[in-house]
């Protein structure tokens, strides 16, 4: 019987397997950031263990760094200690670090692909659940906890039970103006937040093949939001073109050997998945969340649902609680919801393509009075490239704040936070209670919806915007 993509990559990394034990899996790349690593390095120090493969390890600062005044010392002393601890640990254990101020600094899941370190057929881990992003290249990539970070540092391996496999096939093409973000939000609303539990998911089908690498990363990024262990997409020409020429991409004979191998990384025709889900992209529309988990979403053209729309008693209670927290009433059209803050950024939608899309929509418009728009590039490279292309000017002319690289308002940890009761439209991945700051209310949206929302001050799509003379923005 044939094997799935996930099974092929898994099999290539088994160091040891024994009955009744999890497989011991070799890890090709270990990414590190300041929040989930201090206790792991401490553990090594206590046990007198070195980092086994510093040459397969890369650290960056992202969660806890400010996106303004990044050339000054971090103001919050506790945050500063955490960042300084990473610097100390990286120096002591010989790990390459891209600190604040470095041109390669940024969100760990933007930095890996951008350097060309993320490649097909690899195993990649990081103490961060959105490590699933790297699966867009046909890698097995998943988030781990701090004890596991220590385990990988010490041994470059992880004991892992073999996961089940699932295929999500998305047939047809996405309509104009509907993005990878809408696709994945639709999927999560369809499966629920626990639907992927225990599975490595392979996204496939025409709509997936037609996505850019950025779009594929957006889809794989949010695999964790429906519980999947990892998400993957088979590498193809789009993948190879993205990697070729990047700083850490294979060169010369290595490139040829790599390509030859990468082309074998597809699911065999006779392989069997443990589960299959099929969706039709052609019926998808801009999709937004109304509640406090990423599965609580509806099309932008719909209304806020109420407890009566659900059969299950747990769903009814969850809906009631979510509406109360979000300050929403059932039956309100989503387009009538006013927002205070719009956040464009994060490892879901903070790459150059996302910023181009946002600029295209916002060009010639102004951010609505009473609304603020924060545009935060995923990495310093993304920021520099955007500035090269003049995107920063488009944002500034519209009245947006143009920031430095980092996780920023994706999570309420650094200074960029919502205040209690403040409502945001956010291109990030989590709308949990308090995620963007205590009491903050989050609507997850795509980049075009975020940009249009900033202009109108309420949830909107680019189609809702008045035409701008000389502008080419369009959407639906």
């Amino acid at each position: 019987m044939g094997r799935t993509l996930a099974e092929k990559v898994w099999d290539e990394h088994v160091v040891r397997s024994a009955a009744g034990e999890p497989d011991l899996l070799y890890i090709d790349l270990h990414l590190i950031h300041e929040v989930t690593s201090p206790q792991a390095f401490d553990g090594l120090r206590l046990a007198g263990r070195p980092v086994r493969r510093p040459d397969l390890t890369l650290a960056t600062e992202d969660h806890n760094v400010p996106t303004v005044d990044w050339d000054k010392p971090i103001a919050d002393p506790v945050s500063r200690t955490q960042v300084e601890t990473l610097r100390k640990n990286a120096a002591e254990f010989g790990v390459r670090l891209h600190p604040l101020g470095d041109v390669e600094q940024g969100i760990v899941h933007v930095v890996g692909p951008q350097l060309g370190l993320t490649q097909p057929g690899m195993t990649i881990v990081c103490g961060d659940s959105h490590t699933s992003t790297h699966g867009a290249f046909g890698a097995i990539a998943f988030g781990i906890g701090t004890s596991e970070v220590e385990h990988v540092l010490a041994t470059q391996t992880l004991p892992q039970a073999r996961p089940k496999t699932m295929a999500v096939t998305v047939n047809g093409s996405l309509p104009d103006g509907v993005t990878a973000k809408d696709l994945v939000l639709t999927l999560i609303a369809h499966t629920g937040t626990g639907g992927g539990q225990g599975y490595v998911v392979e996204y496939r089908g025409q709509a997936i093949e037609e996505l850019s690498m950025e779009g594929r990363m957006t889809v794989c990024n949010m695999s964790i939001e429906w519980g999947a262990k990892a998400g993957m997409i088979a590498p193809d020409q789009t993948t190879f073109d993205y990697i070729e020429g990047r700083p850490e991409a294979p060169k010369g004979a290595d490139w040829d050997a790599a390509i030859a191998h990468w082309k074998t990384l597809v699911t065999d025709a006779d392989a069997v998945f443990d589960k299959e889900v099929v969706l039709d992209a052609s019926t998808m529309t801009p999709f937004v969340t109304w509640g406090t988990n990423p599965g609580q979403g509806v099309p932008l053209g719909a209304t806020v649902p109420g407890p009566d729309d659900f059969e299950d008693a747990t769903d009814k209670i969850a809906t009631e609680k979510a509406l109360e927290y979000m300050g929403l009433e059932a039956g309100t059209p989503m387009r009538d919801i006013e927002v205070d803050t719009v956040f464009v950024g994060s490892c879901t939608n903070g790459r150059i393509e996302d910023l181009r899309l946002a600029a295209e929509v916002i060009k010639g418009h102004k951010v609505a009075g009473g609304t603020r728009l924060l545009v935060v590039p995923g990495s310093v490279r993304v920021r520099l490239q955007a500035e090269d292309e003049g995107l920063d000017l488009v944002f500034k002319e519209a009245g947006a704040e143009w920031r430095g690289a980092g996780c920023s308002m994706c999570l309420g940890m650094n200074p960029d936070q919502l205040t209690p009761g403040e409502r945001s439209a956010s291109t990030s991945n989590r709308n949990f209670e308090g995620r963007q700051g205590k009491g903050g209310r989050t609507h997850l949206v795509s980049v075009p919806v975020a940009a249009a929302t900033a202009v109108r001050g309420r949830l909107s799509s680019p189609a809702d915007l008045p035409a701008v003379t000389g502008s080419t923005s369009e959407g639906n």
Binding site: L29, G145, A318
Partner: protein, 195 residues
């Protein structure tokens, strides 16, 4: 890590599903570089509510948390497990755990016991009508007991064995050093390095 065989302690009924790690411990509490002291952030937002279950004196000494399905979804922060442990929890019972949370719990020595949905419902009723009642968990026998409720729970055999023996994962793996070295010798040259 200490070996875990049985535990009996005050059961805390948490009538919530989808308790994500941002609820268990919000990000602002994650800045410490130690492994202790995270109890102050545990369920921080909910603890502002005087009626929240942990704010009721009968449950304050709780060590067995009984929660709804999809417990521990969201971020990979192991701080969620530490916060529960720092507070005094030894066991979390739920019909379904998020994968990363379950993995983290196993490594850190917090027992994540998966039971049938109906068992959680019965435990909730029992613990609410008898505030301060205890729940007993036997890892050897994989059973949970409270009042006249007696049922089994699920946990994978490997994690169970490690918890029962109190074994350190890294030590076990380092015992297979020869296998790792042999694997490394065969890795393709085109794989990237960071140094």
């Amino acid at each position: 890590m200490d070996a875990f065989t049985t535990h009996t302690g005050v059961g805390v009924p948490l009538r919530r599903s989808n308790v994500d790690t941002d609820q268990i411990i919000p990000a602002v509490y994650l800045k410490r570089v130690t492994r202790t002291g995270f109890e102050d952030g545990l369920f921080a937002a909910w603890r502002n509510d005087p009626t929240f279950v942990l704010n009721r004196s009968e449950y304050a000494a709780g060590s067995v948390l009984v929660a709804g399905p999809d417990f521990g979804t969201g971020s990979s922060r192991e701080h969620a497990v530490w916060a529960l442990q720092n507070y005094g929890f030894k066991v979390v019972i739920s019909p379904r755990f998020a994968d990363i949370f379950r993995g983290n719990a196993g490594k850190a020595g917090l027992l994540a016991a998966q039971v049938d949905d109906k068992v959680v419902q019965r435990l909730w009723e029992h613990l609410e009508s008898n505030p301060g009642a205890t729940v007993s968990v036997d890892l050897e026998a994989k059973t949970v007991q409270a009042g006249d409720i007696q049922d089994s729970f699920d946990i994978d055999d490997y994690t169970r064995w490690r918890l029962l023996e109190g074994l350190d994962d890294i030590g076990i793996t380092l015992g297979h050093d020869a296998d790792i070295a042999a694997y490394e010798a065969e890795r393709p040259a085109f794989k990237p390095v960071t140094a």
